[in-house]
Assembly symmetry: C2
Homo-oligomer: 506 residues x 2
Amino acid sequence: MVQYKEVAISEFFEKNSHLLGFDNPTKALLTVVKEAVDNSVDACEEANILPGIIVKIKSVKKDVFQVTVEDKGPGIEEKYVKKVFGKLLFGSKFKSLGEAGMQSRGQQGIGISASILYSQLTTGESALIESKVKNKMHYSCRLIIDTSKNIPIIEDEKKIESVKEQGTKITLKLKGVYRRVKGPEGFLKYVAIANPHAQITFFSPEGNKKVFKRVITKLPKKPKKVKPHPHGVELGTLIKMLARTKSRTLQAFLMNDFSKVGNTGAKEICDLVKLNLQTRPNAITREQISKLMDSMEQVKLQRPPTDCLSPIGEENIIKGLRKEYPADFVAACTRPVAVYRAIPFQIEVGLVYSKELPIDKQVNLVRFANKVPLFYQQSECGIYKAVVKTQWKRYGLQQPSGSLPIGPLVLAVHVASIWVPFISEGKQAIAPYPEIVKEIKLALSELGRKLQRYLSAEQRKYARERKRKLYERYAIEVATSLSNITGKNKDDIMGLLKKEIDKRGR
Amino acid sequence: MVQYKEVAISEFFEKNSHLLGFDNPTKALLTVVKEAVDNSVDACEEANILPGIIVKIKSVKKDVFQVTVEDKGPGIEEKYVKKVFGKLLFGSKFKSLGEAGMQSRGQQGIGISASILYSQLTTGESALIESKVKNKMHYSCRLIIDTSKNIPIIEDEKKIESVKEQGTKITLKLKGVYRRVKGPEGFLKYVAIANPHAQITFFSPEGNKKVFKRVITKLPKKPKKVKPHPHGVELGTLIKMLARTKSRTLQAFLMNDFSKVGNTGAKEICDLVKLNLQTRPNAITREQISKLMDSMEQVKLQRPPTDCLSPIGEENIIKGLRKEYPADFVAACTRPVAVYRAIPFQIEVGLVYSKELPIDKQVNLVRFANKVPLFYQQSECGIYKAVVKTQWKRYGLQQPSGSLPIGPLVLAVHVASIWVPFISEGKQAIAPYPEIVKEIKLALSELGRKLQRYLSAEQRKYARERKRKLYERYAIEVATSLSNITGKNKDDIMGLLKKEIDKRGR
């Protein structure tokens, strides 16, 4: 007899932890830092608090590290702490198909509990969670996940008075390998670039302290929730929305449950599908729903709203890059909001040109999705593909075919969206949707033109400088000869010549 | 206030269907066929039945197809049907860390329910499931998945008498794009190669019927369940195993819950960690467990057992390739069982050389994992990397650096394991673990030597043939001249010359 059983999601991801970014110890250490920091920044922004985060990595023994991430965010209510950290697929950010959504760093409610899962799998130790909500007691507990049931097991629960105002802190031990450049410190540097309003303090396993300073004291515009747009909704989603809606007429359903459908739009859609505006949503047959979807697709509507997105902004990209790199030239470009499969997204790009960077190497490409740096799977990422497809020779850079351009540059590309289409749950590369790749290329060519103007100006300046030096070298000879011929004072002639060189050299 | 909620696994995968192989309509159609066929072959073999499978794809309207997969396997008990098809993470094949496992096509209990999820999302239609268990009524129902709860919703349930002996049949509609070569038909052809004991009948959307014939009537050796090996067990897994075990002493635990630990091994481990053999498993402290793991790692033990694997076998690979390709030369090689991270695996390779295949193109690489063809992400797959790293010039083939070799060949590589390390849940590429890549290279070089012997023999034969043709062309002239000189009969001389050519040409 075949034995069937139900598998808990934790058990599935415990065995398949490589799907979540834990496929090797170097990546695992980075992933833990990333998930905790993402959550902290999200929580601070949500609560209108400027993010201040402390990340500590301590070496426990060979290939085992203790990671602590602490913020001054709003804290998490005691009753939620256990589930947020001790249960996979529990959180505040996951939006079902058909539900209203907005841009956020986390998307699923998996990352931080998966980190705890990996920690207990590799070291057998529980995680320490501390949370202080304003005007409440300081709460702490040690926690492991019972993977067979996907529930937390709590040890050592404590509530104490504390002078600390508010914040969340997580401490866990895991098997890992520490790398400085392409590891947690590099990650935090990139976080600092995309989030110049955050102050991040990092203590490395070697005992060094590094502060990534806050250079902007204004919080980014808070993204708003946005309902799905009628164009691009799948049939199954529409069926579900109709079954779940609180609207009592088809008209109300179309106008309330979708974005950008007004009176006229609703009427046009209903006319096309030959349904009365007053039809009850639950009275619509499967066949009619299928036709309804086609009509929704056909009717002309405004594009999805854009206030669900929170771009970094050109000015802030420039500030972020300038504070982390030596720079001779910095530029940025934020594109208008665009749409793929009815989902709004926005592209931003920035660059640093610096003579202190290597001149004969590929540019350093820094990828971001919703302000979070992406570290792995670069060559599969839509961002990389767009950079490679851009004709950088036009903008004054060398570029071997099929490669990144060559030059002393850092190139930053940010994709902001209410739903970033990652190619895997490890969230390290963005699927190369044609609409996204196209927008990135447009942004890059705008940036490229700025670069080109700078490089041409630099070249002209250089040429002028060379010319001036050449003139000056011969001016003395000319002045001496002219003085001999004309009998006039040599210094006077020299003065006149210099004036002339200055005038022409400008 | 932040709103938290629990997310059902179905809702997660509904939104993230690209993680499971549904990232585009071409791949989606293939994935549905793949998941259903995998399940059918597994079920037949499990029940000692030679697999006989019928796959039908019908075009419903533009980009919508109806897929039917029917087998004569044991059927599924009525009480399980709803969950197997209507619930994600429910099945018979998932093994938790620390549980005994064996080679099988499916691994997770996700594939077929995810197919139904995708079907209902894109067409809004329920799936039709039919199941006939021997000596029971014919059961059928239509089924959709309530994604918010990860439970099936059953419509139209029927039980009728039927003359049909047994089997399972699934019918579903989905948005898809049909491709002939790199689509379902190509997939089934490869299935037929790796499973020459299966008979597969395919009806294409164009109305063509194609039969992939069974050429072996013996079922493959049935793999046995194998317990984890002490080398390579993670600490978290060991803690869980100790908590769950039914053994009442540490000695019994080591000997019963692991493979290849005998009396001596158990004693050595206990001595090293300074624990009594009679210690109760639940009385061991965290600290002791950590030391126990180190001891288990240190003690010398036999390698993991190999009867958990079911390779195709050299003879069957040759039969499988011969029946699906025109062939001048076919060879195969099955390696001994090897181990990565304490998990047994086995590599098999085969090749077809045929003058009917293109001579100036890259060889056609066909990848298999547990007898299932892999279609996507070739360049990220450990199999591809091993083929590219092999020095094919040694074996008589051209090979541009970093590429597959060039020549009129089909190259098949099979990785069999109780746990195939796929790089993503779409199960299309195998992680390039060094042990796996090395074994594949060893198998390929063995195969390469066979190919080289064939090609050299072919070259010698060709050279002889050319020589003989040259001799024959001049023989007549020589015979005529000799006849003129000697006055002997020309035909007699010609006869003698021909005899001589034949002798030398051999």
